[in-house]
Subunit: 463 residues, 2 copies
């Protein structure tokens, strides 16, 4: 086919992935959504991306853009005769300006590389997620990635000042502005942030940087209830003037599963508590944070908001506390597939959500265990359900769909989100179509049709 | 005409403005852009707004939405047979949730009322602009207002979590989510934020709240150059871990014009300096900020970044320093119309921008005086030019267009913005059409056509 040959000519031999090397691109790490593609190409520049898209537009060939292939909803996996376009060769740091607190980078740079480059310039790029070693800037933008520092620094959306993208007709939207204020028309970049590659391909971005914090304090506290955890968040933020960068809730079962399945982990506190909160505070002030935190914890103990707490005394203790939090997913894997949800509600609604969802799960699957954890400072709960103890990894297989539907019903009743940070992709496309309002779906379709009338950008995903 | 009668029926007698009372709606405060409208209505609810828009859609009648009528670019003024739809009767605070740090309010609430309501709930709504006593929430959203606290808290865009809007077909987009994470499709609210009413009418919003700061320090420093001011910003942020909430640059002439035209003002420092920086720092920590600031100032003095500085010792001194900053526009008014610009560049480019723009102005209008000031922490410069001393208020009238064009050329050369915070409206519509890239204009038009195919929403503005 002449179009494929023309694309080959654009990228040259270095830019084409041979079929023997295709597997890592066509399957995501857990093996769900095995993919197929007419061709896999890795262009080396924005111009090459534009030429490829133009050829595809002229021949009505669909394209699936791919970053680090770490997405959790299959948005990066093609399912037929699409061209898979990987950004992995585009990994330049175009410019770092400490005086402007900005960094301009190619879409294929990994998040860890971006963090490292910022640090070398004595600045912080605060986004932090589990896959940061391999996920790419273009991917975190297209999925509006969240992670553990959203409470203080926001989602990816809040960290992007400018954008370069190739539109579905092959034109280059060149808007790499390094500006913090620009009111000259619709903020077009917002459509690509969280757009999951359905409106174009992000090729570069200007990212916000921050001063490095001078002091950091990590605390793990045991609390009696989710309600106390939410009250503790408000109390801690008020007492420290919003110094919390992370505020992670873990139900006791999270600790149990980590201790059971992950070697070299230990119970963070002497006694068992119904819930634990892992908090990280940071400040640019050189002194005072630690004593503020100690005062705050003493006050919280006195008010009964916490039952016990430990402050990490060194980096090893900090890492050991975070290791528990980061091992929860693996701990859950040890119990089987279950039903998993990445949902959000208003932070103040978290206790009521947990109660209502828990009751719904108990009705559908008596004995099933709810493993709830997450970034409750942002209202984001990873609400996972695994089968009863000893029921085996497939105990919930026949109930998964019903449990998901029931949990989403509860989420809808709180005007929450059925996908707080992982996105829609293939995985939740049908669910979204059922649960989003007709007015919102109508607006989304109108925008998609206006910018990608032939539907060549990442078909079958999100919309 | 039956359509107008139908609209009257929707709003009732209380919702219609008689022609005797029309003047304050049809003219903005400086008397530019005198307006005309077929009818002025003030609906009392979102449902009434939706009914009115539906009638207008059915009869192809255009609508200009209006908030507090404080906009500086004429976006809120109709120019012919539009219906002027004022949100002023919709001013409910629907809900304040301190535990969730959110507030849900009607579009017609004034900014000052929103700030006050947040404070009563022991929270901060940080947006602060000169017109806050009369501008409305719907207006600040539609114009993505900025102001003096953007450095720390962002523009309006960063403060909106959820939105309710009436679309050009009369449908209600009901997305009053109180969520900090929601990755379920295109972030539709972004189109209305800064959309200047061209895609629909904002009727309510969920706003982000913050803990109240515990300590605040205000400093005025004299510096030798804009370059030193930019270096000082970076130094101060690094030394205090980003504690600056405001960082305002003022060229010496700003002080001179304030002293000349505004009674009861005084020189902030003993000697004259080429530039002044007004800085405000705040912290949630109960102690330590003042001593950090003192250390920082001592270091800045030693490095030669500042020549002198005064720390406000009480609220009266703080107010007196801010009064200078807030009186600059009035001081400039005392010198005549001149040519005024609300532009932004990367903060690090400010010194070079001032040099290059200054040279361009000097070529076009020898003797003209450049009065530059602004929020340089955000790269935002209010770059005003007045005639030579004693030349009278109309000295620059015949050169205004040429000066504006030259300043915008310089802005373009820095990839800056010709409207940092005031927006486009009527005033800069033609300029935008000339200076924005064809790709961006094309995307904007495609979105406008997709959502408002008959062009009834705020015609003649922005796009």
């Amino acid at each position: 086919m002449s179009a494929l040959r023309a694309i080959k000519d654009v990228v040259g031999p270095k830019g084409e992935i041979a079929s023997d090397d295709a597997a890592p691109f066509l399957s995501e790490w857990r093996g769900r959504w095995p993919g197929e593609a007419a061709m896999i190409v890795c262009p080396a520049s924005t111009e090459e991306v534009a030429k490829i898209v133009k050829i595809c537009a002229d021949h009505n060939i669909a394209i699936t853009p791919q970053g680090g292939n770490t997405g959790l909803v299959g948005g990066q996996i093609p399912s037929g005769d699409e061209i898979l376009l990987s950004l992995k060769r585009m990994r330049r740091i175009r410019e770092i300006e400490p005086l402007n607190n900005t960094m301009t980078v190619d879409a294929g740079l990994t998040l860890a590389e971006a963090q490292e480059a910022a640090k070398e310039a004595d600045r912080l790029f605060p986004l932090s997620i589990g896959s940061e070693g391999s996920c790419q800037i273009g991917g975190i933008i297209s999925t509006n990635a969240g992670g553990v520092n959203v409470l203080r620094y926001g989602n990816t959306r809040d960290l992007v000042l400018g954008l370069e993208a190739v539109l579905p007709n092959g034109e280059i939207l060149s808007s790499l502005k390094r500006l913090r204020k620009d009111n000259t028309g619709y903020d077009l970049k917002q459509l690509f942030i969280g757009g999951e590659g359905t409106l174009g391909i992000v090729t570069a971005a200007v990212l916000k940087l921050f001063p490095l914090p001078a002091e950091k304090v990590t605390v793990c506290a045991g609390v009696s209830s989710a309600r106390d955890a939410v009250a503790l968040l408000s109390y801690a933020q008020n007492e420290t003037g919003g110094a919390a960068t992370s505020f992670e809730l873990m139900a006791r079962i999270c600790i149990d599963l980590v201790l059971k399945h992950i070697p070299d982990t230990r119970d963070p506190l002497g006694e068992r508590h119904p819930f634990y909160v892992l908090m990280e505070f940071s400040s640019g002030q050189k002194t005072g944070l630690r004593s503020d935190i100690e005062d705050m914890l003493a006050g919280a103990l006195e008010k009964g908001l916490i039952k016990d707490a430990v402050i990490a005394e060194n980096e090893a203790q900090t890492q050991s506390l975070w290791r528990i939090r980061h091992s929860i997913s693996e701990g859950i894997n040890g119990e089987g597939l279950g039903a998993r949800h990445d949902v959000s509600v208003a932070t103040s609604d978290i206790p009521a959500f947990l109660e209502k969802a828990g009751a719904a799960v108990a009705r559908l699957a008596p004995g099933a265990r709810v493993v709830a954890f997450g970034h409750i400072g942002d209202g984001n709960v990873h609400y996972d359900v695994v089968g009863a103890e000893g029921g085996g990894p497939h105990a919930l297989d026949d109930k998964r769909a019903k449990i998901e539907s029931a949990v989403y019903d509860v989420i809808d009743s709180f005007n929450g989100s059925i996908s707080a940070e992982h996105g829609v992709g293939r995985h939740r496309r049908d669910t979204l179509a059922k649960r989003k309002s007709e007015v919102e779906l109508g607006m989304m379709r109108a925008i998609k049709n206006a910018l990608d009338p032939n539907g060549i950008m990442n078909p079958g995903k999100m919309i």
